[in-house]
Amino acid sequence: MSAAPMSAREAILGAVRDARPPAVARPQPLWQEARAMSGLSRLDTFTAAATAAGAAVSPVSTSEVARVVSGAVGQDASVLSYTAHASSTISSPDDPHALASLDVLVCESSLGVAENGAVWVATSDTAFRAALFLAARVVIVVGEEALVDDLHQAYERIDVRSHTFGAFVAGPSKTADIEQSLVIGAHGPKELTLVLVRATDPVNP
């Protein structure tokens, strides 16, 4: 079961048992009462937070999704798509290294978090997972009804075990490791576009 000699396991667990401080009880959940909502709508809070994280947010009506996604993808780009809103220009490879020069990944998110502008992307697919970080640009489609207020609500909705990999993605990759200067586009994508599909058409409610 474990590759190390069992003695290390037993030694550590034994040392932990000997060291255990007096038990502290698990705190009762009290979040619903303790949480305070901001005056802004969920949609506005999400948009502001995602923008602050460096994402470009495009609010659209259902009928506009394909057109806006196509605009975000651009022309002459190599595209891997995991949504019906866009088509792939390449086939999904067995070896993720083949995606080294991928231009765009298009996918969907099942959940967005208003307080921090992150969207949840989960997959057990090797190519999808690699493309999320290898692509120069990432376009994610998320529905307004998929937004929650905060991470507590997010974890109530998602099952982290349903896929081998899942990530909250907040904006494109970034770094401030040189003199605290923010540089967008570190090792992962340089751009993140969020296509936010409005629950009701903003023009014709």
């Binding site: 079961m1 474990s2 590759a3 190390a4 290390a8 550590i12 667990l13 040392a15 932990v16 000997d18 060291a19 255990r20 401080p21 038990a23 502290v24 698990r26 705190p27 303790a34 949480r35 937070a49 602050a52 994280a53 993720p96 290294h97 080294a100 307080e115 921090n116 502008g117 992150a118 989960a122 057990s124 690699a130 999320l132 970080f133 905060d150 991470l151 507590h152 974890y155 109530e156 982290v160 075990r161 081998t164 990999f165 899942g166 990530a167 909250f168 907040a170 904006g171 970034k174 770094t175 401030a176 490791d177 040189i178 003199e179 200067s181 540089v183 586009g185 570190a186 090792h187 992962g188």
Partner: protein, 472 residues
């Protein structure tokens, strides 16, 4: 042992003299001031982020309580994590100390035939000295966090757990990249330098045959773990390499997935002032065809857990907020601590590993308590620093000068006549001695301070004169 930035007087097998190393750092006044202001700026961003969450204090209290619960049931949660991780297809290893950890990691690489390892940030592997261990055995080790890559190329260690190259100016990074990555001489633009590093490291990611990451949180209930980065470097490594090793200190276990909501809300806001890092990646099994190994490491943690006065320091989630706010850290630089984890939390954790070597660290503090005020898991850092000072003196590890001075002040305060005499001498000295001489007599304390002008009389004399019938 890696070489330090500007040859601070910190040697591998001698006790760390923090004050002496800090003085060497301070010799570069411009760098010291820049360092101080850069970290204070991060602290200000942290304040803004914390203030944006109305329930911030309730969140801290809950995070602290969850960690205390987890640590006081750690054996149960470790076993639960192991069971679930194995069920998820991971291979779980246990390491009592740094050497065992390094041997396990090397063994995994050797069995897989891996020669090129890309690493994301892991203070645990710094603590274990993994890089030199693997390099001595012919493995190419590339740190991929930009800050860590910079210090690796310079053969230094990180000076901050979240901002590894915060002690360096962009011109110095430019010189390093010119030498190692072939960027044009004089190039010092952060964006251009980061782009060059991106190209250079992209090749390494694609060529790697193994990756090593740390963990921010290991979840007992689900047998998975979470890695938080802004750069996406951990994710590229994990998504591409056929072998993934995740090393973690045993204190990083939390009970449930829902607890992640509490900790992820606190972590980035406390560390960098962001609402959340760009990527909070949850791993619950290997990709198809990938080997995924977890190494659970003790290396002194169970000893710290057994210390009644210090076990709560293991609640630490490594956000770095205590460093950014600490007036000593900001003005002395991370390397002056001679310890993988510097700053207030480092000065509480590291003496537990080797009290003699790190005896000066608990004194690298004004005990102002700012660290305690910003800690997202409410570790009483200033109180623990004060308690370590007592253990240092009891253990006979205080420097001769400090011990003598302490004993002298005890004698002084125990003997009123002596105290009065000393006061008279000090007033006289301040009056008649030239300032430089008086400053010399004042010892290290007086070196950087303006000496007071002496009062005409002592308080005792004043009181006797002005309150003749007053209580004594």
């Amino acid at each position: 042992m890696t070489q330090r930035a500007f040859e601070l007087p910190v040697l591998p097998h001698e006790p760390v003299d923090h004050a002496k190393a800090a003085a060497a750092f301070n010799a570069d006044v411009a760098r010291t001031e820049w360092h101080d202001e850069a970290l204070w700026f991060v602290r200000v961003k942290r304040d803004r982020a914390a203030a944006s969450v109305p329930e911030w204090e309730a969140l801290r209290a809950r995070a602290s309580a969850i960690k205390e619960h987890a640590l006081t049931h750690l054996d149960e949660y470790l076993v639960q994590f192991e069971d679930n991780a194995v069920r998820n297809g991971m291979q779980v290893h246990w390491a009592r100390d740094a050497d065992e950890h390094n041997r396990i990691v090397h063994g995994i690489l050797e069995r897989a035939g891996s020669r090129r390892l890309v690493k994301s940030k892991s203070m645990l592997t710094e603590e274990c000295g993994l890089n030199p261990y693997l390099e001595a055995r012919g493995i190419e080790v590339v740190d991929t966090d930009l800050g860590e890559r910079i210090v690796q190329l310079r053969r230094e260690g990180p000076s901050h757990i979240v901002l590894p190259a915060i002690h360096l100016r962009k011109e110095e990074v430019g010189e390093t990249f010119h030498e190692h990555l072939g960027t044009p001489a004089g190039l010092a633009d952060p964006t251009a330098l980061a782009r060059a590093a991106r190209e250079h490291l992209r090749e390494r990611f694609l060529a790697a045959d193994a990756t090593l990451t740390g963990m921010n949180f290991a979840v007992a209930e689900t047998g998975g773990f979470v890695v938080c980065t802004n750069e996406g470097n951990a994710d590229l490594g994990m998504a591409l390499a056929p072998v993934h090793i995740a090393s973690v200190g045993i204190e990083k276990i939390i009970p449930r997935a829902e607890d992640l909501g509490v900790f992820l809300r606190l972590l980035a806001r406390s560390g960098t002032g962001q609402a959340v890092t760009a990527y909070s990646s949850h791993v619950h099994g290997p990709r198809a065809g990938q080997e995924l190994h977890v190494v659970l490491v003790d290396n002194g943690r169970t000893r710290q857990l057994a210390r009644e006065e210090f076990w709560t320091s293991l609640k630490c989630i490594r956000c770095g907020a205590c460093m950014n706010t600490c007036p000593i850290y900001r003005r002395s630089g991370g390397h002056s601590y001679g310890s993988t984890v510097p700053g207030p939390i480092g000065s509480v954790l590291t003496p537990g590993l080797d009290l003699e070597r790190y005896a000066s660290l608990p004194f690298a503090s004004t005990l102002c308590g700012s660290c305690t005020a910003v800690c997202p898991v409410k570790i009483d850092l200033d109180a623990q620093l004060f308690r370590w000072r007592q253990r240092v003196v009891e253990g006979g590890h205080a420097s001769m000068a400090k011990a003598t001075a302490m004993k002298a002040s005890v004698r002084l305060f125990d003997h009123p006549r002596l105290f009065r005499f000393a006061g008279a001498v000090a007033r006289l000295g301040l009056r008649i001695l030239p300032a430089p001489l008086a400053r010399l007599a004042g010892g290290p304390w007086a070196r950087t301070r303006d000496l007071p002008s002496p009062p005409a009389q002592s308080f005792r004399a004043w009181y006797r004169k002005n309150r003749p019938g007053g209580p004594r």
